[in-house]
Amino acid sequence: MNNRIKEYRARYNLTQEDLAKKVNVRRETIVFLEKNKYNPSLKLAFDIARVFNAGIEEIFISE
């Protein structure tokens, strides 16, 4: 599964730390998500999509 978290983060001018705090995870988790080394739970995926005011399928792309 690929994602566009980095792109959206840049669009909203958020740092990895900011996003981590908003979705209540560690910064490390955001780093791993952006590198496609971790697939988030459905809850985290929804939380991230909510931060970016986007649909879940806009942020996460199934290969």
Partner: protein, 150 residues
Amino acid sequence: MLYISNFVLELHNLILIRMKKGMIIFAVAALVLLTTGLWLTSARGTLKTFDLLNILVIVLVVAFALFIGYKRLSAAKRGEPPEDEMSRKVLLKTAAFSYYISLYLWVAILFIKDRINLDTEEILGAGILGMAITWAVCWLIFNYRGVRDE
């Protein structure tokens, strides 16, 4: 004014709760080092190679625990949760994988126990320390390689 002081106290409590686990790790590490020190001072005569190996492994395990404790504390200071879904998943995978490897470790120990000249306590100690090392290595691998589950 009262509202501000309440808010500051709440924040202080929150940081303390999050730091608690990190502090426990530091306390256990200090205890392990202390007992190792006591063992070294009470040991009579020169230490055997096996003892030195045990000490090295203990130091490595303590260093690893301190590393985890430091990570937790720095996360708490940044206002992040010390644990989240990824760290729990890493722990789960580490536990499962290291358990699997440990089974083979004990089979290997059973196989070589008659071929080496060691006491039962020493063999058990080596096995337990081997399990600790297996866990630490698995954790490092999963923590740096990630868990994609695909």
